[in-house]
């Protein structure tokens, strides 16, 4: 059965750790880093569960800073 797979690329230097993407994601793909911060001191968003991503773009749309790029593919 064909399955939709997605992948996100997060500009972690630009991210301010607002968490809006984390709560918008329907598949719990994202979380804020618990181990590192970026050069401005923000705990940035990471795709901690990348296999779960379905490429829906919810995270990218709600991101106020335009940090997320989303790719999508239909896996046969």
């Amino acid at each position: 059965m064909a399955k939709i797979r997605g992948a996100v690329v997060i500009d972690q230097d630009r991210c301010k750790g607002c968490r809006l993407c984390v709560v918008a994601c329907p598949t719990q793909t994202l979380a804020l880093s618990t181990t590192s911060v970026n050069h401005r001191g923000y705990a940035f968003s990471e795709d901690v569960n990348p296999d779960a991503c379905i490429g829906c773009s919810s995270c990218a749309q709600v991101c106020p800073d335009g940090c997320i790029t989303v790719y999508k593919i239909r896996e046969e």
Binding site: V9, K16, D47, P64
Partner: protein, 259 residues
């Protein structure tokens, strides 16, 4: 399939609009201003108006929009963007002219100008970011502050006897002969963002057709001023702000034309 393979072989589903440049936005984490900037960039891009759009940004956190969107901008004094936009639109009628104003700006110090520009039916769109507070100066009460809302200048909450009532600017604008389209939107969810984008596009189109002036209110968050996390601010906005400021179109003369 690995993440790298999906990126390589898959199709691009979302990237930030190209009119939004790479300057780091100064807004606090989670601020609605950023999402609204992205929508403006997307709509102008889709309309092919990048070379013809002129924004006017007065005082408030959103003044710095000119640093982030790669289109022409003019700064204005506090509350005076509609007058400047009027002048620009009258001299250059083929341009897409819009203002980007906060609630302290458009409803407070600039309330007079906002209403008169709208009532003259200028071919401009006023984008009005209502976060119920003076964000930039540290969270003082604005005309849009809700009853009971605690701010730096209403520490016991807004009280009618002392502070009067929140101003329903969009409802007033909808009563003016000069307005063609008045709508209230928000950007807290994907569904809200989708609707808001359509509304913004409609306003820009109507203002280009010079059918009258347009007001697009965005109910937005100011997590710093409200002293909440961005996630809680979206929740508070949905539960409290939308009750007093209900979303949707308040006036649309293009609907009358059709029927």
């Amino acid at each position: 399939m690995t993440k790298e393979e999906i990126i390589q072989k898959g199709s691009l589903a979302y990237e930030k609009p190209s009119l939004l440049n790479n300057n780091t936005m100064h807004y606090c984490p989670g601020c609605s201003h950023g999402v609204i900037h992205k929508l403006i960039a997307e709509v102008i891009e889709e309309m092919g108006m990048a070379d013809k759009a002129i924004g006017v940004s007065p005082v408030g956190c959103g003044v710095f929009i000119y640093k982030y969107l790669d289109i022409d901008f003019q700064e204005a004094a506090h509350g005076r963007a509609p007058a400047l936009a009027t002048g620009i639109k009258r001299v250059l009628p083929d341009r897409l002219v819009f203002t980007y104003q906060g609630d302290g700006d458009a409803a407070g110090i600039g309330g007079n100008e906002t209403l008169h520009a709208l009532n003259r039916g200028e071919g401009i769109t006023i984008i009005f970011i209502n976060n119920a507070i003076y964000g930039m100066t540290g969270g003082q009460m604005s005309p849009m502050t809700l009853m009971g809302q605690v701010t730096a200048t209403s520490p016991y909450g807004r009280e009618a006897a002392i502070h009067g009532y929140p101003l329903k600017l969009a409802e007033i604008a909808a009563q003016l002969e000069g307005t063609a389209y008045v709508t209230r939107q928000s950007v807290e969810s994907v569904a809200a963002i989708r609707k808001a984008k359509l509304a913004l596009k409609k306003a820009f189109q109507i203002s280009m057709e010079e059918k009258g002036s347009c007001l697009v209110e965005f109910v937005g968050t100011c997590s710093s001023g409200w002293k909440m996390t961005p996630v809680d601010a979206n929740k508070w906005m949905s539960e409290q702000m939308f009750l007093y400021y209900p979303k949707g179109d308040l006036k649309d003369i293009t609907k009358k034309e059709k029927s």
